[in-house]
């Protein structure tokens, strides 16, 4: 998903700006910073956020299988095998809240980086 997003961003990078950079002989680092990154980063952000959120949930799933001490997955598993329904719901709620928090933090972080790299060009 991220690969496809970055690939799309590369394809969408402004070819007219790249020609301008070629004519004015801008160094590679300058081209990367001011032309390629602002072209690629918005697509990267859009494609990176869903996998980021999925990664958190996958982590909890892995904890349910591996049962590391003091983990959310371990607690959820123990609640399940002891038939403690309130605990199962409570831990599920914790997972949902953690997932929402993680996605919010990720979205804000990416938005801040995007604003720094791309200015107000890309919404």
């Amino acid at each position: 998903m991220v690969y496809a997003g970055v690939q799309g961003g590369i394809a969408d990078t402004d070819s007219q700006l790249l020609e301008m950079a070629h004519v004015y002989r801008l160094p590679l680092i300058t081209r990367l910073r001011y032309i390629w990154l602002p072209g690629i980063f918005p697509s990267f952000c859009e494609s990176a956020l869903p996998p980021w959120v999925c990664a958190g949930k996958s982590g909890v799933s892995a904890e349910v299988i591996g049962l590391p001490d003091h983990s959310v997955g371990d607690a959820l598993y123990r609640a399940k095998i002891t038939l403690s329904t309130p605990d199962v719901f409570a831990w599920t709620l914790v997972i949902v809240l953690l997932s929402a928090l993680l996605s919010t933090v990720a979205a804000r972080l990416l938005r801040a980086v995007k604003a720094r790299l791309c200015g107000e060009v890309q919404a």
Binding site: Q16, E19, M20, V23, Y24, R25, Y34, P38, G119, E120
Partner: protein
């Protein structure tokens, strides 16, 4: 310093745009011709944006061009755009020249995307005029 073009040939598929084109540019000149006769292709070869099929071009040292479009980095201010391509141009000099072209302090703080069409055009023109020889190519 003259720009010397010798036996320049360029084709797009079976369509030959330039055939053994020779020209010496030793003073300011105007290139005119019918639509599709190869003016843009010739200029793009001079700027290094196209490769000629054969022939030679000598004397193009520091190309600077005002494109049909403004081609300013939209997220950067006009000053930053000028400094970016200026190869040693200082921000103070760029700011001073932009002010003399009617940019206000508020305009100088705006990213290029928010400048008016006329301001972008002036910035693009100034970029070509202020372009200096790069230290490294």
């Amino acid at each position: 310093m003259s720009i010397v073009i010798e036996n320049l040939c360029k084709s797009f598929g079976t369509h030959a745009v330039l055939q053994s084109f020779c020209w010496t540019v030793d003073r300011p000149m105007v290139l005119m011709g019918a639509s599709g006769c190869g003016k843009t292709t010739l200029l793009r070869i001079l700027l290094g944006l196209e490769t000629a099929d054969s022939g030679t071009v000598t004397g193009v040292v520091t190309p600077a061009v005002v494109f049909q479009e403004d081609r300013l980095c939209p997220q950067l201010t006009a000053v930053d755009n000028l400094v970016l391509t200026g190869h040693g141009l200082t921000a103070a000099q760029a700011r001073s020249d932009l002010r003399s072209l009617g940019f206000t302090e508020a305009d100088l703080r705006l990213p290029a995307v928010r400048l008016s069409g006329g301001q972008k055009r002036r910035a693009a023109l100034l970029r070509a005029l202020l372009c200096q020889t790069p230290k490294r190519c």
